[in-house]
Symmetry: D2
Subunit: 236 residues, 4 copies
Amino acid sequence: MINVTVWNEYRHEKTDEKVSEVYPEGIHEQLKNFLQEDFNVRTATLDEEEHGLTEEVLNDTDVLVWWGHIAHDEVSDDIVNRVHERVLQGMGLIVLHSGHMSKIFIKLMGTSCDLKWREADETCRIWNVKPSHPIVDGIGEYIELEKEEMYGEHFDIPAPDELIFINWYKGGEVFRGGVTYKRGNGKIFYFQPGHETYPSYYHPKVQRVIKNAVRWATPTDSTYPTYGNHQPLEKI
Amino acid sequence: MINVTVWNEYRHEKTDEKVSEVYPEGIHEQLKNFLQEDFNVRTATLDEEEHGLTEEVLNDTDVLVWWGHIAHDEVSDDIVNRVHERVLQGMGLIVLHSGHMSKIFIKLMGTSCDLKWREADETCRIWNVKPSHPIVDGIGEYIELEKEEMYGEHFDIPAPDELIFINWYKGGEVFRGGVTYKRGNGKIFYFQPGHETYPSYYHPKVQRVIKNAVRWATPTDSTYPTYGNHQPLEKI
Amino acid sequence: MINVTVWNEYRHEKTDEKVSEVYPEGIHEQLKNFLQEDFNVRTATLDEEEHGLTEEVLNDTDVLVWWGHIAHDEVSDDIVNRVHERVLQGMGLIVLHSGHMSKIFIKLMGTSCDLKWREADETCRIWNVKPSHPIVDGIGEYIELEKEEMYGEHFDIPAPDELIFINWYKGGEVFRGGVTYKRGNGKIFYFQPGHETYPSYYHPKVQRVIKNAVRWATPTDSTYPTYGNHQPLEKI
Amino acid sequence: MINVTVWNEYRHEKTDEKVSEVYPEGIHEQLKNFLQEDFNVRTATLDEEEHGLTEEVLNDTDVLVWWGHIAHDEVSDDIVNRVHERVLQGMGLIVLHSGHMSKIFIKLMGTSCDLKWREADETCRIWNVKPSHPIVDGIGEYIELEKEEMYGEHFDIPAPDELIFINWYKGGEVFRGGVTYKRGNGKIFYFQPGHETYPSYYHPKVQRVIKNAVRWATPTDSTYPTYGNHQPLEKI
């Protein structure tokens, strides 16, 4: 069974009533709720020791799901480097919503990962532009969210390996809202929905996408390439 | 269980002793031999009615494996169009070796698909350049074939969605020997090994790649997008 | 100086008053009007002999601009093959608006090139998602068209080599409205604006994009690769 | 005229006779020698103040060429961040040979950038696999270097935006030896040749590639996207 670790900053939920009404146990618990239907799920949060991401936990994680927002800076560089190394060695990584500005995502992307944003209770329609991809299995043509935070282009990311979703916002913007990357032995998926005051992680199609992404991101090959000095395989 | 149809031109084997020594029952039967360990496999050949690719057969096929060489022109355009439509609707397609010049591959690629070639009993080393990909699961750093036909760059294909393998040849050339494409709802994998006089399809790693590719190419999403006139989803 | 040939079907303008009011001399003449500020421009239309695309004309064309809509089927396969071959040999091709369903575009793409559409006088905002690209030089963050035909996803094209623009429509759809492809020695740019009843080709930024694209698509390398049997470069 | 800054670590040349015989004035001076035929060129080296890469110098640089090897760690993080920011704002970056392990390249790539290597005086043949690209203008099918350091796959980089060259080595390896990336407003080209004891930067085709790359990487669009809170463009 696939081992998933859901990591959540877990700050908004403790201090902001609007958030705790939507996610009373924390965003991580709601993510766990539906992921555990299919996977073996544990959670980890910022204020735990080593942010809950010990060597042991990471070595036992096939796919790490990441939600963070106001405390990106409090994540220690050592833990970021540890996660980074694990991704290159094969661990899947699913970065949600405001995680676009997390240290780990920025480190993996190499760009600023900045974007436009607006909280205005507006409709967001997430169009499936890659119908052959396993991440959109069962999703159909689009996902409609009555209210979601606007994230708009330009989104300063590398051209994705695969563009899966494009978001439409009522206020006039578009956004590459679902993108995949392969880095080293690892697979990465960024997915836009999940502002802390909206119930996006209760939406069946959002849940389905995240579940599909976990399956897609699970490591497949256990052999890490060898690097460094190399003897010739043929006579020179 | 995944339904695989192995299509073979099946001409060399009937007329060329050097080929029938390697593949006495035909290349398709050897492909079937190892694929049926994991999948539900049928075969089809050029000289059958409708080349064995009736509507019924194709509708019951998850992944089609294609080997052709000297008789590409004898494949009827109607059947090519039928396969093409099925690929866009989701059927996986694995094109092997000289299938690069098949009508169906050229139609899907939109380019000439031409390349350099040479039959010289030379070593071919197929390097894995995408270790995170499910197609290379269990393959390691490279596959070494003692003898394979040289296929060399420039290979006139679209930039692949994913470059999986790069081939090295003793005579001094390189080749993008494993490439993936997504087209419509379908997934396509081209793989270089398989000259008719060499036993490449008996090589365990070549078999493993083709099996992995079948799994990867299996359709995941049953919803075909709708096209044409579209009513607005928002008030204009 | 770069030699541009503007090809137009030139049918709507002769029969539909709404069109001839916008483009009294034909769409090709308006395209020529602004392109000739920077380039050496000729035009060609469907009803000319060989559709105006003789060997001589094509051999003297660096970049071909294509507009067609209701008469795609009347373009002869021979001419399509001739254009196709020239693109693979290096001629640039800029396909505009409804040209997405032209024979030449479909042949180059290998997919159905189908999409959703609607004529509803609605706002179209074309977002620049690749600010580093020469095609968006001087364009800024977006182009806003008061009225343009809606083209919506899913757009059945290969994943573009480069995604340049994403269109937003008031009615709720999105569209990959500017995409590049390299095929053989040639470069291709598809650009969405240009419904025959709207004045999009008078818009300064639309003009700027098309001019930039002509420069980008101009052939750079005169050496066509050699294909076929190849002697070894090293001792085998 | 395009302003190029050639940055060189400039250490090998001062201490290793085998290197100073090939590049008596330093690698940067040889790069400058041929680049100044077409561009406005200055040089900068590690041991200058701020490594010669002051704000002023970088603001006046269209394209930065980077050669480093044994002293990557001595490049200060502040300067790396400064270069990184300039690249995202549009400055072109050409990373040569052992620069694959420079801090700036690793930061932009987000991966380990590791590879296999060997110094064995062996033949390297650099195949052009993207004949339509301006970087290969005038290069033909391949560049042959009698002796070059072997760099072999797996090369731990993101899938390049464009794969331009694949290297063949006599010892049996292959390598993605010319790759492009767009990051933010900037363009990046990595090119393999240039081991310090071999005269690769005297080779006319290597020079031609680097010149072509400078032209390709020159900034085209002066508008940097705006990020952050964004007012709606449409009524919500």
